[in-house]
Every structure is written in C-alpha cells, then in structure tokens.
Amino acid sequence: MPPLPDRNRKPSKAMQLVMYPLDWLEERSGLIGGVKYFLFRKVPGDVGWFHTLGSATLTAFIVQAVTGVVLAMYYKPDPATAYQSIQFITNDLTLGWLVRGMHRWGASVFIILLFFHAARVFLFGAYKYPRELNWIIGVILLILGMLEGFTGYLLPWDQTAYWATVVGINLNGTAPFVGEFLSQFLRTGAEINGETLTRFYALHMLLIPGGLIALITLHLYLVVRLGVTSPPWSDHAAGRERPEPEPEPNGRTGLVQPAPRGGYKR
C-alpha cells in the first residue's frame, strides 16, 4: 500500500502562488466550491456518448452567441445597407467569411443537435418523474431556437430572406382568430417594411437570446439538482442501489426498463 499523502505537508512555493488567488476568491465568494459542485458530480457508471448531446448543444449555442456578438459589430440592420454590410462581411473583412459561415452553418448544427438531444431524452425515457419540468423547459428552448432561426433568416435581406419571411409571417397569419394580429405585430405593420428588419434584429440578438440563456441556466440547474439518468439498458438505477427490490415487470416490458430474460442481474 502506497503511503497516503501527508495532508499537513506545506505546499510548494509554486503551488502556493497558484492557490493564493483561488483561495482568496473562494474565501470571499465560495465560487470555486460552486464550480466544483457543478462540474464534479456523481453520474451513473454506464452513461456514454449519448449523454454528451446536451453539452454539445450548449457548445453550439455558445458558438452562435460568440460569433453573433462579433457579427453584430459589422452588420447594419437597415433596409438600405443590410445586404451590402453582409456582402462586406463575407467578401472584404478578414476572416469575415469564416465567422459568418460559422454562424450560418452553426445555426443548423444547433437546431440539429437540439433535436438529437431531445430524441435521446425521449428514447431513454429521461423525461420521466422527476424530470418532467426539465423536458418542458427543453421544449420551450427548442421553440426559442427555431424562433432564432426564423428571425435570423431575414437579416441577410436578400430575395430568399425576404420571401421566406413573407411566407413565414403569413403562415403565422393563418392561425385562427389571433393569426393576423400576430403577423401584423411581427411585421410592425400591414406589410413588411424597414421596421420589420430592425424588429427581427432586436428579437434575434437581444430578446430571444436572453430568454435562451435564462432557460438554459434553469435547465442546467435542474440537471445538477436531479442528476443524470442511466440508459434504459442500465442495471443500476440512477447510479445507486434501490432501497427496495426491483418491481416485477408483470409481463409488460417497456423501452425504458426492459426486464432481461431471467430477471435483473445484480
């Protein structure tokens, strides 16, 4: 047996240098402990790549946020200059083609990953008690993500953008009773005009991202609070032994808790 490290040993000079600011911060805020609590959680032993889809979606969102902030430094949300500013970003600015491409294709990646993540949660039955609220928040996040796509699509202000938005807004307009009010609100008027562009810009970069960030925070809080589910084929329930014996499958085998032939292995 190797000797245990002596806890009372004085740390090296270099270590002290690293730890001093961290200790200073921890003593005054508890932030280091909070970050540790967030990152070093217990998860079931048999989680796999499927469980990384959520953080992949988060990463895609962060890419969108960062590239979007940078694009906003050059984009001009004005009917007379929007198209030209996009052309300027793509063709003239150094690496503009790359950042715009990251934002443009990253948008699709974000939506695709949202769907994959939702499919994983659905097929693993991870939306069940006590995680229903997190599923509901996830659905709202999906809707907000698609709204980001809808509002962002107008911003290049070319023919595709314009007519896609015409069709999209008129689709909303066919909703019974309130549809035309909704579409007139989205257009800022009876027809698409300059304010439609600025309105979509504000929605795209301020209002909807704000909602997304707030709900992602809530989503993560619930993930930390409730823990990660094991896969349906797992034979340990949520990473620990059940206090009571497994319930009889009773002839019904579902997707989430399949009863292997010959009972549960323990």
Partner: protein, 321 residues
C-alpha cells in the same frame, strides 16, 4: 407594544400624508402657478398643525387614543418558562405566535401590502408604456396611400400590363409592388395584385412577357418622383413559384393551395391618370373583364378564407387598414 413595554404610542394618523401633499403642492406650484403655492401652504399648515397637535397630545396631558391594546394578558405559553435557554437549543427561541397574535401587528401587514403594491405600481408604470411602444405602432396608420400609375394611355385596351410601382416611395425598394392591369375599355380596368392568396409569394404571369417593350415612367406621388414600369404581357393565367398555386386571368384559383382568388385594387381616374386606391380581397369572380361580378371583402391576409365556414376562423381583422 404587545407586552405593554414603553407604553402605547399613538395610532397611525393621516396628518403626515396630508402634510406631504401640501409640500408637493408647494413644489409643483413653484413651477406651475402661485395659486397652487398658496393652496399648498394652506394644506401644509393645516395638516402640519394637526400632526403636531396629535403627536404632542401625550405631553399636553390629553387622553391619547392609542392603538387598540391587547385585551387579554399574553398567554402563558408565549412567555418562556423557566430559566432562559440558549438560542440554539430546544424549541425555537422566538415565541410561537398563533394567527390571532400576528393579527395584532397590522403595521407589518401594512408594510407588506404597501411594498408589494408600490412595486406593482412602479412596475406597471414602467412596463405599460414600453409594451404600448412595442405593440401599438404595428396597428396604427396602416392605411394604403393612393398610388399614381401615370396616364391611362399607357394601358392599351385589352392588353395586360405588368405594372411595378412604389407603395411608399420614401421607404424605397421594400415598398416595391406589382399589379397586373388590363384595360377593359370604357374606363374599366381589371387590376390584380400579385400577392398570392396562399402565403403571399409573388405570382408570375403564365405566358409571354415582352421585356423588350418595357416602359419606365416617372410619376408624381407623395410630392416626389416615383418610378413606375410598364411591361406588356399576354398571360393565360398566373402561377406562384413558391407552392404552385395557379390562377386564371380573373384571379380565380384553378389549382394548388390558395384559399381564394387573387386580391384586387380599387382604382380611380384622376385627370386621365390611373390611380390605385385601397386593395381588397376577393372570394370569387364570375364573368370577365368589365362584366365581372366580384365577391369583394376587406383586405385579408394571405391564406385566410374570406367566405364559407372557414372564414369563421378569422372573425376580426386588425384595425388601422
């Protein structure tokens, strides 16, 4: 107060509020009018006097109408029995109060309600104008201005002319619109909007378009020069590139997803110029040209039925058109 310590203070009075109103009146009056200053001085003096009288009553030996005293002695259970305990041992060190006991502190309830109420008031004062600013401009002043399309001599009888114009020249390209216009003779015009009745894409003429005979003219509109282009065409109908809706030359749907006929424009002829007035929606057209019988409705968004059972889904259109 509850255990009688320090005697009963005076009950809550309204005099300070009146005094404050007087002060506000003076301050406002300094800007607005001298009469308000006088009124403010009067109010502040009267209420200040009453306030001072009220709060000095105790020292002047008059009976003090106190806040209602507890009628019974505090219940024994409320008082800590035996020697004092450390706060972290046993039951909660604070006395357990039942609901009736809490009732005796109306000031805390007052503070709670007034904090919430004031918060709601301030929140509302901030939110409501902002909300109005977000929503109302979308529903105000949405009237369609008249559009001058130039002399009617540019529209030969029996010929279709693809007419492009600016609904609002000041807004620029975003107000670019297209109408298909046919002179039926005898000052009758068929003017069909190119907005598809499905989801609003631009319908195209099915047939030859004489691009080489395009004529660009300048007209006076809203006190500025606006461009109008006139291109002869001989369509056998109209078709939408987005989802394949098809229409005949009167704008009736012949195939595809549209829910009604193409919209039309009212028009007038002012000093031999063709002028577009408000657009309107059409359920169906029977007959052609000058003899057409048009089932007209107020302008409705694309994809919405204007007649039949389905129109019950769209009972109210937004105001301001």
């Amino acid at each position: 107060m509850a255990n009688g310590e320090g005697g009963a203070g005076p009950g809550p009075t309204i005099w300070p509020i009146g005094f404050a109103v007087g002060i506000v009146c003076i301050l406002v009056g300094l800007i607005v009018s001298t009469a308000a200053v006088a009124a403010g001085v009067l109010i502040a003096a009267v209420f200040g006097f009453l306030w001072a009288r009220e709060s000095t009553r105790e020292y002047r030996g008059t009976a003090v109408p106190a806040a209602p005293e507890p009628e019974e002695a505090p219940e024994p259970s409320m008082l800590p029995a035996g020697p004092p305990r450390p706060a972290n041992e046993g039951e909660a060190a604070l006395p357990v109060m039942d609901d009736a006991e809490v009732e005796r502190y109306p000031r805390s309830v007052f503070l709670e309600v007034s904090t919430l109420g004031l918060g709601a008031l301030i929140g509302g004062l901030v939110t409501l104008p902002v909300l109005g600013f977000v929503v109302l401009p979308s529903f105000e002043d949405q009237e369609y201005d008249d559009v001058n399309l130039g002399p009617i001599d540019n529209f030969p009888e029996g010929k279709w002319i693809i007419t492009t114009f600016f609904r609002d020249p000041a807004a620029g390209e975003v107000s670019h619109r297209v109408a298909y216009i046919r002179n039926n003779g005898n000052l009758s015009f068929t003017i069909i909007s190119n907005r598809c009745a499905h989801l609003g894409c631009p319908v195209q003429p099915n047939g030859l378009v004489a691009e080489n005979q395009r004529k660009s003219i300048r007209v006076l509109q809203d006190k500025q020069r606006a461009a109008v282009s006139l291109t002869p065409a001989s369509p056998s109908g109209f078709g939408c590139p987005c989802h394949g809706g098809q229409y005949d030359t009167e704008g009736n749907r012949t195939a595809g997803p549209p829910v009604r006929a193409l919209d039309r424009y009212e028009y007038s002829i002012v000093s031999r110029n063709l002028v577009l007035n408000k657009p309107y929606s059409v359920a169906h057209v029977t007959g052609t040209g000058a003899d057409a019988k048009i089932k007209a409705y107020p302008l409705t968004g694309p994809g919405q039925h204007v007649d039949g059972v389905e129109s019950w889904l769209y009972p109210i259109q937004p105001p301001g058109r």
